[in-house]
Subunit: 305 residues, 2 copies
């Protein structure tokens, strides 16, 4: 950057030919992460979650500001050093610079505002899905909800593995995948509220419906074993996965399947975009016998919007 | 903007040839404004204070995000309508667009992040003051501190006038003046912490000293009358004025004095930049008899940094 922290504002050089992508997210202790989370865990989760919005737009993250509200018991050198180290690690990993912010006293709350760049006209949005598109998801679904369950009810039955803790406190923002998808995907969103809700956002913005097949959902073996009864609901309705859900036009499907086969894209197909039909739910779910699963059965109505 | 609220992030078109200016500020109820402030007052103060950072950089404000944490007693349609109307009025006045944000539940706190534009290389910074520069201030000093005193101790002796309430809840961001100063000022800052502290920031960043003459300080008649004993301290050390303090090179002084004379610049000269001298305070204050006023006498040491 041209001028960083220390003046009234930061001065930043935009790359010619790029549009800006800007997003803000607030995380509150006890709501978005447990009160017991360490400084490092708070920092890494907050920055990763915010970077995920950049990934969903196909943007290259560049700069961020941090507004940090700290309670007295955390306003000490030790907590701040742990926090700063975590923030620095993720910022370095994704080449994004902290350019300003503010600290105040109060209950632990963080607001991050990220600004990224995307070539003019190439941003991924929620509004481009078309009937006939394939629906894809990166990585695994349900990890976020399984981790939250294990952290919240930490006992011998639901022990949070290192992998699940990592998925919760350091969810890998899919930045590189987002960049690749610019020329591949018709629509894209990151899974923060749960697949049903977030794919629903794509359907609403694009004026289409979607159908998801349960046996194609990528659910980690660990999550299936943790609670076979809950695994499907976590995958469909749990939030906090921060994977990308995207749609691909019919004539691009072979190319995307080839990229997946070659290991150049960590994703799998989970469904199809259909024409709009207001007489049914925007997102339908069918099992391997093509039976429609109802909202009530899946219990995801309390995630509805 | 190209795409606003409703996707994962906002998509913004930067004007070619411009650098970005980015700043974040948090305001907390009971700290930065009274708990009793109305929704409109909270909104206008928050946005004006943040716009002031753009003015200090000579930037043209373009976009902002708002992270709003609301307590239950304010999460209702009436409070939000009042808040939104206030925010909308200031945003419209300065042609700045709300492009995203987040709402959470908790003690009333606002974090605004503004992004503005400035032609490459023309931003005003704290670091350009040179020995021989004149020191100028826009508008009046001490209004912010007088208003805070009147609001905090609201009685028959210290009644907050409509003018002072307006200065506190709706401090006029000096955007247009900031734009004019791009080609005039060597250094610039906005007065948020008080003249002594903020001019001190210019001195530190520029490696110079400054001397201020008390009889040249622009103090409103109302403030002098409110408390003749306090007026000088409010002007020197009170925060919340959100005026611009700037320095002008010796060979530009006649031009600036002419602009002031013509009414094209609402500012007045209050002092001079001197060479660095570490044996004395960076900012000295002298009275009309050229007597040096000491730090202790003025009582501004608790604003020190």
């Amino acid at each position: 950057m041209a001028l960083g922290i220390g003046d009234d504002a930061a001065l930043l050089n935009v790359t010619p030919g790029q549009q800006l992508v800007m997003a803000s997210d607030t995380l509150v202790a006890g709501v978005h992460f447990p009160e017991t989370a360490s400084g490092r865990q708070v920092a890494t989760r907050s920055l990763c979650v915010n970077l995920s919005d950049m990934a969903a737009m196909g943007a290259n993250p560049r700069w961020f500001t941090l507004a940090l509200t700290l309670p007295n018991d955390k306003a000490n050198a030790e907590w701040l050093a742990d926090f700063s180290a975590g923030l620095g690690d993720i910022a370095k990993q994704h080449d994004v610079a902290l350019v300003g912010g503010d600290t105040t006293s109060g209950p632990l709350t963080l607001t991050l505002t990220l600004v990224g760049e995307v070539p003019v006209g190439e941003a991924l949005t929620r509004g481009g899905a078309c009937s006939g598109d394939g629906v894809f998801i990166t990585g695994y679904l349900g990890d976020g909800a399984a981790a939250l369950e294990a952290i919240t009810n930490n006992n011998s039955l639901h022990r949070a593995s290192d992998r699940l803790l990592q998925r919760f406190y350091c969810p890998e923002p899919q930045i590189q995948t987002g960049l690749k998808l610019r020329t591949i995907a018709n629509a894209c969103i990151d899974i923060s509220d749960g697949l049903m809700a977030d794919l629903g956002h794509i359907c609403k913005a694009s004026g289409v419906n979607a159908v998801i097949q349960t046996e194609q959902l990528p659910i980690a073996a660990e999550v299936r074993e943790l609670s076979p009864l809950d695994a499907l609901e976590w995958a469909l309705c749990g939030g906090d996965d921060y994977q990308l859900c995207f749609t691909v036009a019919a004539d691009q499907l072979a190319k995307v399947e080839a990229l997946i086969e070659l290991g150049e894209l960590d994703a799998c197909r989970i469904g199809t975009i259909n024409p709009s039909d207001e007489s049914i739910n925007a997102v339908s779910v069918i099992d391997k016998n093509n039976r429609l699963l109802t909202v009530e059965k899946l219990g995801y109505n309390h995630f509805g919007h």
